[in-house]
């Protein structure tokens, strides 16, 4: 079970991030989670939003360089050691994590982790045995 993440190129210039968030606000997009990876010259903004298609076309027509990436959203119990268990499963299955970021869900007691791995199929297989994977619709709520 995979969900779509928006990946947006962010030039390292003052005002670029706010230009992007402005576009999302204008089209009434709700951001569920985000992470920003940065180098000296540029960054990549990764977003999980409530309406992927709408956000994608809004960013596209706003002259942003944007792409869709398949990621896994795992619901993890919000307690010490919750994440380790998931990581262990991936390590045992020899799956590498390219990047990840987490956010606290609105439903009490759980956290969501967004995972970008090198083998989605295998990761879904091993994780879904122990964890609940979130659908696009569940994320959108």
């Amino acid at each position: 079970m995979l969900i779509k993440q928006l990946s947006v190129f962010v030039e390292n210039k003052q005002g670029r991030l706010s230009a992007i968030t402005d576009i999302l606000r204008e089209s009434g997009i709700d951001i569920r989670a985000l992470s920003l990876a940065d180098t000296r010259d540029f960054g990549i903004l990764r977003l999980i939003v409530n309406d992927v298609d709408k956000a994608y076309s809004a960013l596209k027509s706003g002259e942003c360089l944007v792409s869709l990436t398949d990621v896994i959203a795992v619901s993890i119990e919000d307690k010490p050691g919750g994440l380790t268990e998931a990581m262990d499963l991936l390590t045992q299955a020899d799956i590498s994590v390219e990047y990840m970021y987490a956010f606290i869900s609105k439903s009490a007691g759980s956290a969501s982790v967004i995972l970008r791995v090198d083998d989605n199929k295998k990761a879904v297989e091993v994780l879904s045995a122990k964890f609940k994977l979130l659908t696009q619709a569940e994320i959108a709520v």
């Binding site: 190129f9 030039e11 990549i44 360089l65 792409s67 970008r116």
Partner: protein, 436 residues
């Protein structure tokens, strides 16, 4: 074998050509000596008289004319025909200094039209074509030059000029333009806008494009051919000599045939002024042998080229010039190494997914020259991981380094953040000039 506009001239034997050149040269030298004090004074100062110039082999005896001479004699000091015979003026943009003005008699315009017509014919054009002229009209020679050649052939000319790119594309589509001319950078802008408008190359009828007025690369040619679905031809010209049509590509595309029955080319060593043998690279020099109003003798173009008389499969015997890498004016000296912007374009476009949207910035930091190349990230280059983005950056860095031999800093820029050009592109900012 292709089509020719003027077979007798385009396929003349070397013997015929040199006889014609010699006759025309001696006549022209005599005329400017009598009519233009500048030439007379220069020739006297160099101890040359019109009697010394009997044939093409005597050409080297004449002094050079430099761009500065055109400025010093501004506006009409070099005109060799009475001003009431002059029916048109054009001027250079003056980007490298004070502008210069040139004039044409009715006969000069005929010559120009013919040269442009030869270029259009060599690109596969005939009277059934719809010629979309996206070169600027006005003092710039591009627009009216191609316009004249196309009308002479009897094409349907669409004089769009530059600007309003979306409208240009609708015209290309609706009017059924089959040929287009503009600068290669503007062609790229048109191609990009077309893509944004959702119009594909299959929706338009362009079959060939004549792109000139700035140096461009083979890689740029492939990109334009792919995006616009046409065959891209190079065309060369300069205001001082006549405008577009001084030289043009045939279907073989291994250099541009020079209309040498009107303009005799030479290659010289830019430092010593010595004439170099065929095949050697140097500065291109032209002598006009048929023009009435503005016949420059041994004009130093500052363009770098190689001449070749190798047999061409198109059947033309006109001497060929290999595409100038650029003007000596455009050459950058970075850490003591000569670098042409066109080399950087070649390197950049050799990397998969890259586009010809870039800007070169040269600076001097702590007494060291620095070279930065700003590159627009294309969809094909973009990825959600830093690692793959850095792989692309490094691929460009390596490609540039292997072509020019010095390292550059590559800066990734967002889409459409770098300037687009409707006329001549300007890809370089040399901040060192501000420091000197």
């Amino acid at each position: 074998m292709g089509n020719y506009y003027n077979k007798a001239m385009e396929c003349a034997t070397l013997y015929e050509m040199e006889a014609l050149q010699s006759f025309r040269l001696s006549q022209t030298v005599r005329r400017v000596y009598e009519k233009v004090p500048f030439y007379r004074d220069r020739m006297i100062a160099n101890g040359v008289s019109p009697d010394d110039i009997k044939n093409v082999n005597d050409l080297h005896k004449l002094p050079f004319v430099m761009k500065q001479d055109l400025r010093d004699t501004y506006p009409y000091g070099l005109f060799a025909a009475p001003l009431d015979e002059v029916v048109r003026l054009h001027a250079s943009s003056g980007t490298t200094g004070k502008q210069i003005v040139v004039g044409y008699t009715r006969n000069d315009l005929e010559i120009w039209d013919e040269c442009a017509a030869r270029a259009l014919t060599a690109a596969g054009g005939d009277k059934t074509d719809f010629m979309h002229v996206s070169y600027g009209y006005g003092l710039f020679t591009g627009g009216l030059g191609i316009h004249g050649g196309a009308e002479k052939i009897g094409m349907t000319v669409i004089p769009v000029s530059t600007g309003n790119t979306a409208r240009q594309i609708n015209i290309i589509k609706d009017f059924g333009s089959t040929l287009i001319c503009c600068t290669p950078s503007y062609a790229m802008f048109i191609a990009e806008t077309m893509r944004d408008m959702g119009i594909s190359k299959d929706d338009i009828k362009l079959k060939a494009g004549l792109f000139g007025a700035e140096p461009w690369t083979q890689e740029m040619r492939h990109t334009l051919e792919e995006m616009l679905g046409l065959k891209a031809y190079d065309i060369y010209g300069l205001t001082e000599i006549i405008g577009p049509g001084v030289a043009f590509e045939c279907e073989e595309q291994t250099g541009m045939h020079i209309c040498e029955d009107h303009f005799i080319p030479e290659i010289i060593d830019p430092d010593t002024g010595e004439v170099l043998p065929l095949g050697e690279q140097g500065e291109l020099v032209f002598t006009c042998i048929t023009k009435e109003a503005f016949p420059l003798l041994r004009y130093r173009t500052r363009d770098i080229a190689v001449l070749s008389r190798e047999k061409c499969s198109c059947g033309r015997t006109l001497i060929k010039m290999l595409k100038p890498k650029g003007r000596t004016d455009d050459m950058l000296i970075i850490r003591g190494v000569n670098v042409f912007p066109s080399q950087i374009e070649t390197a950049l476009l050799s990397v998969a997914g890259s586009q010809p949207f870039y800007h070169i910035e040269v600076d001097r930091i702590n007494n060291n020259d620095s070279l930065e190349i700003q590159v627009e990230v294309s969809e094909a280059m973009f990825s959600d991981t830093i690692k793959s983005m850095e792989d692309v950056e490094n691929a460009i860095k390596r490609a540039v380094e292997s072509v020019i031999g010095i390292s550059a800093k590559i800066t990734m820029c967002g889409p459409k953040t770098l300037k687009r050009f409707e006329g001549k592109a300007s890809h370089v900012t040399d901040k060192r000039k501000l420091l000197d």
